[in-house]
Each structure stands twice: as structure tokens, then as C-alpha cells.
Amino acid sequence: MVRTIWGSTVGKKTVMAVSGLIMLLYLVVHMLGNLKIFFGAGEFNHYAHWLRTIGEPFMHYEWTLWLVRVVLVLAVVAHAVSAYQLSRRDIKARPQKYVHSKPRASYATRTMRWGGVILGLFILWHLLDLTTGTVHTDFQPGRPYQNVVATFSTWYGNVIYIVAMLALGLHIRHGLWSAAQTLGVGSRARDRALKAAANVLALLLTAGFIAVPVGVMTGVVS
């Protein structure tokens, strides 16, 4: 069964859909957690610490967190590898362009590809900035509130983050609806509802994530 799925274009899209949905679920939780920053350093830092203690005493300190990280890494890798392989195949299947071309035709496809690359690079920067602190100018372990405020006090921190979140919104807009089609849950009757759901979720996530840098910029969070 694994071979049938991985060896087929339809199957590989299923891998993309499922891994995408896992990441999407994580993002919803992540975004909601981020909003705690509006309730002060104490609450935010306490929440961040709690993330490491989920499941105790059954789970050891940070076990749950690492479990989530492993699942996410697997999802990202599966999503990216299938996207890369499918894109290579798609480009090969259409080697010659039309002389009279219509740009509209590949708009969604191109936004997904470039958006995906942008998001991949963003995740890397985001981890080095706020998880490991490697590229952070003033990283203080265990004090995420102060770290977030410092990042969004730089112009490039804001630019990188906001551009990436806009790319995320566009990616989810087409991706969530596409996942529904790939998994076979779309239908003519449900199509408008699905499109609306994808748009609303994309908008809420983008707005929720961007609220944090905007909060820092406007001084609501400091």
C-alpha cells in the first residue's frame, strides 16, 4: 500500500494533503498560543514554560514537546519532498510553452511553489531566531516574551515575518481547499462552503499571526 501511494501522483498528493493538514492543525494552536502575548510577560512566559511540561508526570519534562517536534519535522519533510517530486514531474510533462500564453493558467500553481519555498526558508529563520536564538541579537533563554519583543523591534524582523505570514495565508487558501479535493471530500454542493472555509481560516491565521508584530510596533506589547 505504501508503494502504491508513494508511486502514484494521486497518492503523493494524498501525502501532501495529510501532512499539510497536520501542519495546519499545529498552526491554529500556535496562533492561539501567540495571542497570549497580549496578556503580559508573566502569562506568556508561563505558557511557554508549560508547553515543556505537558503530560507530566506521565511524560518526562519536554517529552511531549519533542514528540510534537518529531511529528512536525516528518510532516514538513513529507510535504516538501512530495511537492518537489510532483513539481519536477509537472514541469517535465509540459516541456514546451505556448507562444501565446495565458498567465492566469499557472497562477495558483506558481504561488504554491514559491510560497512553499518562502515558508520553508521562513521556518528556518524563525527557529534560529526564537527557538535556538542563533540569529537573535539579544536572546534570553526561558524569556520568550522579551525575545519576541526584541525581534519585532527590528525592521527586518517585521518584514520577514509579515511577508511570510502573507505567503502562509495564500498557501492555506489554495492548499486547504485542494487538500479537500485530494482526499475526495469536496463535491459540487459543498464547494462554496469549502472555499469559504479555506478563505476564512487563511485570513484568521494570517491576521492572528500578524497581530503580534503589529502589537509590538504599535507599543501595545512592549
Binding site: M1, T4, I5, G7, S8, T9, V10, G11, K12, K13, T14, L86, R89, D90, I91, K92, A93, R94, P95, Q96, K97, Y98, V99, H100, S101, K102, A105, S106, Y107, A108, T109, M112, H174, W177, S178, A180, Q181, T182, L183, G184, V185, G186, S187, R188, D191
Partner: protein, 249 residues
Amino acid sequence: MKLTLRVWRQKNADAEGAMATYEVDGISPDMSFLEMLDVLNEQLILSGEDPVAFDHDCREGICGACSLVINGEAHGPERTTTCQLHMRSFKDGDTIDIEPWRAAAFPVVKDLVVDRSAFDRIIQAGGYITAPTGSAPEAHATPVPKADADYAFEHAECIGCGACVAACPNGAAMLFTSAKINHLNVLPQGAPERETRVLNMVAQMDEEGFGGCTLTGECATACPKGIPLTSITNMNKEWLRATRKAAKR
């Protein structure tokens, strides 16, 4: 009407092709697009040149032989086949670009003619029902609910023209393949081969080198028979169902 045509000319499968420019005059708005090309070809023959090769057969929009990407759109600006497209859709003095279907799985044979036998092999992989033929069976022997009959018919309308592949930025054959799978899988006659049909046809589609689906929807927009994009959704569903079932055996 007087028109400037820019047509893809290519001697054979291995030759390099290029766009060539021709002028045609005295075109009536009531002519079909293919009749306009007939005028061009008569002109070319009279001047001792090689006529433009293009596919056509029924010229009534039912066989799927005609093709042509006209001004970047498969079957041109109207939602119909090229043979049913009329010159009244264009204006006097227009320049019209005419190209063949472009896809790795549809190699150019000559000029505007491409080899679409990849579609035949997809059909051979499962686009049929296995039944003894002979005299027609009694029509009421196998009851089919009206809704299913309508659904099957809607998908049976696919004429295998390949406009969906030509319009797809990935050269994917998902819409064509899904049309046949939806047509047969919903009917009682198609039920015995429901799983093998979808698995084998999708496998053959991949084997032929068609691209994958990114759900841009260009195929459904280009399809002269109005095969809907949700046809692909349902094929995915059938494929997942068949894969799960095969794993259980």
C-alpha cells in the same frame, strides 16, 4: 473578413517547428474555424506550398478529433470544440495564433497534429466494462437510479479531445481519466471492476508521463463538454477507496 494567422509549422516529429505567418481574406463570419483553415490550405496548395496539417473528423462537436490552441486557449475563446467555433467570434483584421496541444505525452506528429494515443492506452487500462456482447439486453433488467444515470451521462459526454491536458499547466490528464472513471463506476454495469478500473487507469495515466493535478481548474474551464472539476475529486475518492480495499486483501 481579413485575418492574419500565425500557425505552428513542423515538418515531422523530429523537426524543429516555428510559427509561420499567413494572410487570409474573404472569410465569412458564418464559417467554422476549420472551414477558415480549409480556405488557408486551398490557398497554400494553389501556391504550391505544403498545406497545414490539423486533425478533424465529424465537424459536429462529437468525435473529439479536432484540437488546436487558439490565442492561448484550447478550442479557442468559446466553450465548444474547434469545429463548432465560428469566425463570428473574431473581428476583421484580427491576428490569430494557432498552436498544437502541448504536453510531453502528446508529441507533435506534424504541424498542428499531435499523437493522442496515450488516451487510448488509458482507456485500455480500464475504461470499459467486461460483459458478453450479443443482442441488446432487456432495458429493465438492470435498474439504474435516475440520479446515477444522469451522473454517468454527464461524464460519458467526454469526447477524449485532450483540451484538458492542453490547458493544464502541468500537462495532466486527470479530467479525462476521471470522466471515464466516474461514468462507469457509478453504474451497476461498472461495479465489478470498480476498484481495478481506477487503480489501473491512474497507473497508466502516470506511466504515460502526464503531470499531476494542482487543482488550478484550467481543464474544466477548457473542456468543451463541461466535465466538472469535482469529477477529479471523486476520482481521488475512488482511488483512495480502492487502495484501502486492495490493502485489506
